[in-house]
């Protein structure tokens, strides 16, 4: 499948937007991990802004960045959201409440617990009635999401906004599911290269385990391993470098996505 990346949104510890992060990922600026900074979700009406939980804010922030950079028509733009397990903070709060004798659950926490919460908030924030898909594939969530978004694009020949996000899990869940970092990335995918095109991808799914996945920078590599959405970092680094490269990303069932990355001007 051939797709083009017209815009990228990114948010992670020490990674504040694509312009700043591209320099780090290309190796021209140093990576300095810093506490996550997620701007307030100003796309949302005030009531929803108050209710939006951290992972939703993270997903919305990267989606917004990609949207603003690309100028895509949001009303008709389908979305794909992928995450290993949705909002761990909300999950913990609900589980903790249910372990108490009174079991007095908060209605807002309950509706925030659904895996498609970012899709719902995104639709409210943008007024978009376009179809949306929310999926999970554990450690392979990024690969499965990219495959889903790309297949939508190939089937419809229309742009798709793809968002991968994971919020760090609180205790005791982090001991059983060590998602140690909050990270999100949005790719505005298009069937033809737009004016702002960043790279062309040729994506195939083949049997095997990735051999070229690790990042050279130890701290970026720690981030890559710390959140399933951050398995995207080697791909993003290739885009940032503007190289032609072949990137393998782990999928499920002993398969991987083999992604040929090329800069747009060479006609990827």
């Amino acid at each position: 499948m051939r797709v083009f990346i017209d815009a990228i949104g990114i948010c992670g510890p020490g990674l504040d937007g694509w312009a700043q992060s591209a320099a780090i990922l290309a190796g021209t600026a140093p990576y300095q991990p810093a506490p996550l900074r997620v701007p307030p979700p100003d796309l949302l009406p005030p009531a929803e802004r108050r209710r939006a939980v951290p992972s939703v804010r993270l997903a919305l922030q990267v989606g917004k960045e990609a949207l603003e950079t690309s100028g895509a028509e949001v009303e008709s733009l389908p979305t794909v959201f992928t995450s290993s397990g949705g909002d761990g903070v909300t999950m913990h709060a609900i589980l903790d409440t249910l372990a108490q004798p009174a079991r007095e659950m908060s209605p807002t926490q309950f509706h925030n617990s659904v895996h498609n919460a970012p899709a719902g908030y995104w639709s409210i924030a943008t007024g978009s009635h376009a179809p949306t898909t929310s999926i999970a594939a554990h450690d392979a969530s990024f690969a499965a999401g990219l495959l889903e978004a790309s297949s939508q694009l190939v089937a419809s020949q229309a742009p798709v906004l793809f968002v991968a996000y994971d919020g760090a899990y609180p205790g005791p869940l982090h001991l059983v599911r060590p998602i140690t970092a909050s990270f999100a990335v949005a790719l505005l995918l298009s069937p033809t290269p737009g004016a702002s095109c960043l790279a062309g991808l040729s994506i195939g799914r083949v049997r095997g385990r990735p051999s070229n996945g690790a990042l050279a920078d130890a701290q970026l590599e720690q981030l890559r391993r710390g959140a399933p959405a951050a398995r995207s970092l080697p791909l993003l680094a290739a885009v940032a470098r503007g190289d032609t490269a072949e990137i393998d990303i782990e999928d499920t069932a002993s398969h991987l996505l083999r992604i040929a990355v090329a800069p747009c001007e060479t006609g990827a």
């Binding site: 929803e48 249910l98 659904v114 999401g145 889903e148 790309s150 205790g171 001991l175 799914r205």
Partner: protein
Amino acid sequence: MNPLEITATAIATCLGRGEAPTLEALRSGASGLAPCSFETVKLPTYVGEVAGAGEKLLPPGFDAFDCRNNRVAELALASDSFLDKVAQARARYGADRIGIFAGTSTSGILETEIAYRNRDAATGALPQDFIYDQRHSTFSLGAYLQQRLGLEGPAMVLSAACATTAKAFAAAHRMIEAGLCDAAVVGGADSLCLTTLYGFNALCLTSRLPCRPFDAARDGISLGEGAGFALLERPASSDPMLLLGLGESSDAHHMSSPHPDGLGARLAMERALASAGLSPSDLAYLNLHGTATPVGDRAEDKAVTSLFGDRLACSSTKGQTGHVLGAAGIVEAIMTMLSLRHGVLPGTANLTNLDPELGATYVRAPARASFKRAMSNSFGFGGNNCSLIFGLG
């Protein structure tokens, strides 16, 4: 869109396991709802439990996956020779050419709810034998299906609340169209847990009585649990059951309340008709989302009447199965296909006094009727909507 053929199905709900008891209930209108005595739950409500889901029943070698959600899924998988038919498809296409598009909303959270009561008093740690990845992780069911069915194609678990397993058909269709697989197992499972029982109670959306869709006195849902699966392939039989159309939309309105005029619902139904190349008069039956909440049923009625007037026979089967949440899409898709194949127009259990403010035509008692095309609606939290159209070839 290019239609797909449904070549095998599997189902488990409170009505029973497999096609036979499900069809019998569609013909009789019987309900599987009973007063809630689930786990330690103390709520005045009715539920639809799957018989046997409390027992260890996964095949040998699958202990790590043992949770109520995967048990409910297994009870469905083992029905109606579904496993054999998937094995035959695997032999025909190859394991890596069959995709898995499964859905769940709460996965195996019940086991984590119980583990949270048994945390270490000093450290707060979960019990030593607690397993997250294969039981509670949202992809748990996907991994179970991969191993249980021996499939290696593209796999994902969709989770879009109560529209989940309807949307699984859409994902499978796209992936087959894009050439990434030749066939797909779609469906999923949702099972009773404290999160949804207490969560819907907190939203004041559960009824104290068996739910009464579209009744003037309706006052909320009854939760159920269930699982269903379907094998999708490109049409090849002489008398196929076909997926003819599908439509998805977003409400852009509220996280847990539908658009008051059913805007997103109407869009999903319109897009399904457009994708099938059909007009409203081409359909003979609509299996409604119809959960029996005052607001939800009214919104769906507005959407239906704005598109179909009062010409279309409509019913909700949730008074029989309860609201099986993420599994509603596949369970009601299978019920719709059974209705088409066996000439039965499903009724709306517990509908006694129709709400006079509603305008669609509601089937109360099941009836015999022969028809060729029908739609099934599924709408979820987050304003995610999906409508599917099935037909006899």
